[in-house]
C-alpha cells in the first residue's frame, strides 16, 4: 500500500520530472480503494454512500460524539464566527437542511429534529466540474476528494456546491486547532477543505469516524452492491436527500 509519505515522495519526485499532473491524478483518482490498496483489508466499494437514521439521534451528545470524532481526527479548526468557520460535519434543523422540500405541516418533532449535514459525495458533483486544477476530483469509488496541497483557493467550488459543504480557510487554521492529531495533516490559510468520507480509513479497511462514533445510527456501504447492508436499509425505509432536483445525485440519505 502507498502511505501518504511515500505518495508525497513520489509526487515530489515526479513533479521534478515534470510528471506531476499525470502521477497525482493516476495515483489518487484511479488507484486508492481499487488497485494499489486492494491487497490489505481495504474496503472495496464501487459507490460509497451513507444513510443517516435521524430517528436514532436523540440527545445533543449523540451528535456531539459524531462531530467531535470527525473534527478532532481531521484537525478541523474550531472557529466560533459562523461567517468564517470550518466544518466537515455539522447539524441544522429540518427546514434549513431540506430547503425546497421541507413540509410545512410535518410533525413538530421532525420540525425540531436536528440533521447531520456533510458533503454528499454527489455522483455528479458540480464542485469537481468547476475546479480549475482538479484539486477536487472524483475517485472511482465515488468519493469526492479534496487535495488541499493543490487547491489554489479560487473558491469556485464553494459557489458550485449547492449544499454549503465546503469551507475556505479564512483564518490561519493551525491557530484554532484545540487538540492536534499528528496522524492527519493540517491545512494552510487560503485553501478549501471538506469531508472526504475518511478516505484514509476506507483505504485501510475501516469505517469513517462518524459512522463508527454513531454506534449504528449511520450506515455506510456500497450502493452498487445489491446485497449490501445499505441497500437493505434503503429498500426498507423511506429516505430523503437534499436538493435532488439539481441532478447532483447526493450519496447521503436521511431516514426521517
Amino acid at each position: 500500500m502507498i502511505t501518504r509519505r511515500d505518495f508525497l515522495k513520489i509526487a515530489a519526485f515526479s513533479s521534478l520530472l515534470g510528471l506531476g499532473g499525470a502521477f497525482t491524478i493516476n495515483a489518487l483518482e484511479k488507484e486508492p480503494g481499487q488497485k494499489v490498496l486492494k491487497d490489505i483489508n481495504a474496503l472495496k466499494g464501487k459507490r460509497w454512500a451513507m444513510v443517516i437514521d435521524t430517528r436514532k439521534f436523540k440527545t445533543e451528545l449523540d451528535f456531539e460524539k459524531v462531530i467531535k470524532a470527525c473534527h478532532k481526527a481531521h484537525n478541523v479548526p474550531e472557529i466560533a464566527n459562523p461567517l468564517h468557520e470550518v466544518k466537515w460535519i455539522w447539524t441544522d434543523d429540518y427546514k434549513h437542511s431540506f430547503t425546497h422540500t421541507a413540509e410545512e405541516y410535518i410533525s413538530d418533532e421532525i420540525k425540531h429534529r436536528k440533521f447531520l449535514l456533510l458533503c454528499n459525495h454527489c455522483e455528479n458533483p458540480p464542485c469537481v466540474r468547476v475546479c480549475p486544477v482538479k484539486a477536487t476530483f472524483k475517485r472511482p469509488d465515488g468519493i469526492t476528494m479534496q487535495d488541499m496541497h493543490r487547491c489554489i483557493g479560487c473558491k469556485f467550488c464553494m459557489a458550485g456546491c449547492p449544499y454549503g459543504a465546503r469551507s475556505y480557510n479564512f483564518l490561519p487554521p493551525r491557530d484554532y486547532i484545540k487538540e492536534f492529531n499528528p496522524e492527519y495533516p493540517t491545512r494552510t490559510l487560503g485553501v478549501v477543505e471538506k469531508c472526504t468520507f475518511c478516505n484514509q480509513r476506507i483505504d485501510k479497511g475501516q469505517l469513517p469516524y462518524c459512522v463508527e462514533a454513531s454506534e449504528g445510527k449511520i450506515i455506510f456501504g456500497d450502493l452498487y452492491d445489491p446485497n449490501s447492508e445499505i441497500r437493505k436499509v434503503l429498500s426498507e425505509n423511506i429516505v430523503i436527500r437534499r436538493k435532488v432536483e439539481l441532478g447532483t445525485q447526493p450519496m447521503v440519505f436521511y431516514i426521517i
Binding site: H84, P132, I152, G153, C154, M158, G164, F170, G247
Partner: protein, 396 residues
Amino acid sequence: MLDLALKGKPRYWIWISFLITMILIGFICWLREHHIGAAFTTGLSRDVSWGFHVGQLTFFVGVAASAVLVVLPYYFHNYKAFGRITVIGEFLAVGCVLIAMLSVFVIMGQPSRVWNVILHPTPHSIIFWDMFVLMTYLFLNLLCGWTILHAEKKDAPPPKWIKPFIYWAILWAPSIHTVTAFLYAGLPGKPHWMTALQAAHFLATAFAAGPSLLIIISMIIRKVSKFDPGQQAINKLAEIATYALIIHLFFIGLEFFTAFYSQIPDHMKSLIYLYWGLEGHDRLVPWMAISTLLAFTGLLIFMFPPLRKWNVTKLIGAICIFFSIWMDKGFAFVVSGFIPNSFDRVTEAWIALNEFLVAAGVWSVGALVITVLYKIAITVKEKAVFDKYGQKQVVD
C-alpha cells in the same frame, strides 16, 4: 516607440507617481491578506465566497470586449469616424484585460500555486477557458494596437499581415465575455445566475459601459493633448451606449418577469434582496437604488438628442451609465447570487477596506498600462495635423 512614454509634462509624471503609489498600497494590502487571512481583510464569508474582486473581473472583461465596438465598424463597415480611435479602444482593452486577470489572481488563497492552472489543465472548468480567452485577447489587442500605431508613426498604411489578427480580435471579443458569463450561468443551486440570458446580458451591459468609458476618456484626451478623437466618433459612441443600455434594462425586465410570473421562490429572492431587502437584510438596497437611478438618468440624457449631443450632458450621461453598471455588475450581481445561501438563509457581504485597496491597486496597474500606451499613441497622433481620414485635428 516606447521612448515616447518617457517624455511628459509634470502632470503626466504626477499621475504616474500616483498610480505607482496606489499599486504599492494595493500590493501591501494583498500581502496583508495572505498574512492574517481573508477573514479580516475581505467582506467574504463561507456563504458569500466571491465578492468585489470577482465583480471587477466581470465588469472589466466587459469593458475590454467593448473595444470591438470601435474596431468592428471601422474594419467591417468602413466607418471612417472610428479610424482615429481604434487604437484607443484596443489599448483600453489591453488595460482592462489586465485588470480582469489580476482580479482573478487576487482572489486566490494560494497565489503561489497559480501555475497549477497550466500544469493541470482542466477543460471542464470555466476558469481554464477564461484564462485562455483572456490571454489570447490581451495578446491580439496589444499586437494590433501596436502594429497599427507603428505604421501610423511612419506615415504608412498598416501592414497587410495584421488584417487577420484584427479580424480574429473582433471575433474573439464576444467570446471573452461569453466565457465570463459561463462562470456563473452553469451553477446548479444559483438560480439568480443561472439564466441562458446571462452572456447576452453581460454583452449588453458591456456595450453600454465600455463606450461610456471611451467617451469619458476621449473627452480627457481632448483636454490634455492636441489629439482629437473626433466629435463624430464620440457622438456615435453615445448612440451605441444608448441602444445597449436600453437592451440591458429590457433584460432586467425579462428577469423580473420570469422570476415573478413563475413565482419560483429562489428566482424571486435574489431580486427581492437587491431591490427591497430580504428578511430584514437590505444592505444592497441603497446601492441598487443608486445604480438604478444612475441608469435612468443616463438613459434620459442619451435618449434626448440635444442632451446626448451637448458635450457637457454627454459626459454626465456617460459617467452615470458607467457607474450604474459598475455598481451592479461589479458587486451587487455577484453577491446576490449567493442570496439566499445553501440553507435558505441570508448572509450579506460588503467590501472591506483592505479588499478595496487591493482592487484599487489592480485598477492602477491597468490604468498605468493604459496611460503609457495612450501617451505613446497620442504623441504619434498629435504629429499628424491633418490626419489620413481627411478631418482636421484640433490644434491650439
